[in-house]
Subunit: 204 residues, 2 copies
DNA sequence: AAATGGTTTAACCAACTGGTTAACAAATTT
DNA sequence: AAATTTGTTAACCAGTTGGTTAAACCATTT
């Protein structure tokens, strides 16, 4: 009896590919390394995914489909802007603990190939700002929030939450922190970032 | 002085290398492309910079030495926290117009090779948070600022300013903006980001 | 004008890379 | 149980890549 892997192999390949692509990027990744990490022959990669580009896209789409629901929580949920920002901030940081390479990977590969995201915009569930925009404008009109455009607010929320993960090595160096201390800073941000934002935009 | 070119060639190589490395990264860059862009033979690259790694490091250090003074403006200047944040925000965005690839490049390469920054920390003029820390603590103590740690404030300032450039393709997709509209958003941030921060941290 | 020494080139090379092939083994169908 | 399909492997291949070499080039020195 050879192996009871069948469909298992395909998953093992995807796991290994995720691992290698997300830490080294498309250009730095080697098919041989992915095969080794998956514990199989290099030819199997092509048997299941035909070529490097398609394997990469499988990994990328997979990564993006994890990220999208997180963002939709801020964009398309029905609760108040304040509540959504508080929720998103604490959720997102917890989410990052499980997928630390994810945002840097997505951002890096989109910078390498900006047209790539155009295909994705058509996908159902692709995060879109329209509903959020209406909601922000309404809360500004109602005097709940100080005047701010939805785009700027969204950029600020994203920046404050995502950047500390994307630029971790840089920020560790500037703030003179080791891994443990830096994670401590991040942990505090679960509440502090939301306070920081709300503080700035909420009318009193 | 032998040829009219001799110093010139070295600069032309560095310019071409900057161009290629910053848009494609270490792994995606090709020595042949750099040589072509510099209008010279590939062997010349090795004559002047010995190998790809050293040429890359020349580019990286060059990029970093442009970035460092910008950050030191926030960390080591003597004016008040508010003034420095306002200055930095408007300066940094203007600076990015001239070097759009810079932050994504630095961040990407540091993620690929985090140990790389350790060598740099010893360099004179490497941005360090210590002075900024004392100043923030003082202003908090004096009641000028609401309680916040210098590290968190610094991370926030960096995030709000740098992230929109690093994640440009992603944010363009989410906010449904083309290049022109997105640049318009950025332009507004020269003042809005500082307001956003000050709003949140200043006592009234 | 011959010698000098830094600069530049074309040709070359060994190692690597993504991808293919043909044969073989297991599982499934007939 | 024979035939067919699916999964897996080792060996191979052609194109690319970073890097080398030996000879030519050219501005100055002797």
């Amino acid at each position: 009896m050879k192996k009871t892997k069948d469909e298992n192999t395909e998953v093992q390949i995807l796991d290994a590919a995720k691992n290698v692509f997300q830490s080294k990027g498309m250009d730095g990744a080697r098919m041989q390394e992915i095969a080794d990490k998956a514990g199989i022959n290099k030819a199997m990669l092509h048997y299941y995914y035909r070529n490097k580009q398609l394997l990469f896209e499988a990994v990328f789409n997979n990564a993006f489909s994890l990220l999208a629901p997180q963002l939709n929580a801020v964009l398309n949920d029905d609760s108040s802007i304040e509540k959504k920002i508080r929720n998103f901030t604490s959720n997102y940081i917890a989410f990052m603990d499980k997928h630390p390479y994810l945002p840097a990977f997505v951002i890096q590969e989109l910078n390498r190939n900006p047209e790539f995201i155009l295909k994705m915009k058509n996908n159902l569930g692709f995060p879109n700002i329209e509903k959020f925009k209406i909601q922000v404008n309404q809360e500004v009109k109602d005097g709940i929030l100080k005047p701010i455009s939805a785009e700027q607010l969204f950029m600020n929320v994203m920046a404050l939450n995502v950047f500390p993960f994307v630029a971790k090595p840089l920020l560790m160096a500037f703030t003179n922190t080791d891994d443990e201390a830096y994670n401590g800073l991040i942990e505090k941000r679960k509440t502090e970032v939301a306070d920081f934002i709300i503080n700035s935009i909420k009318n009193v």
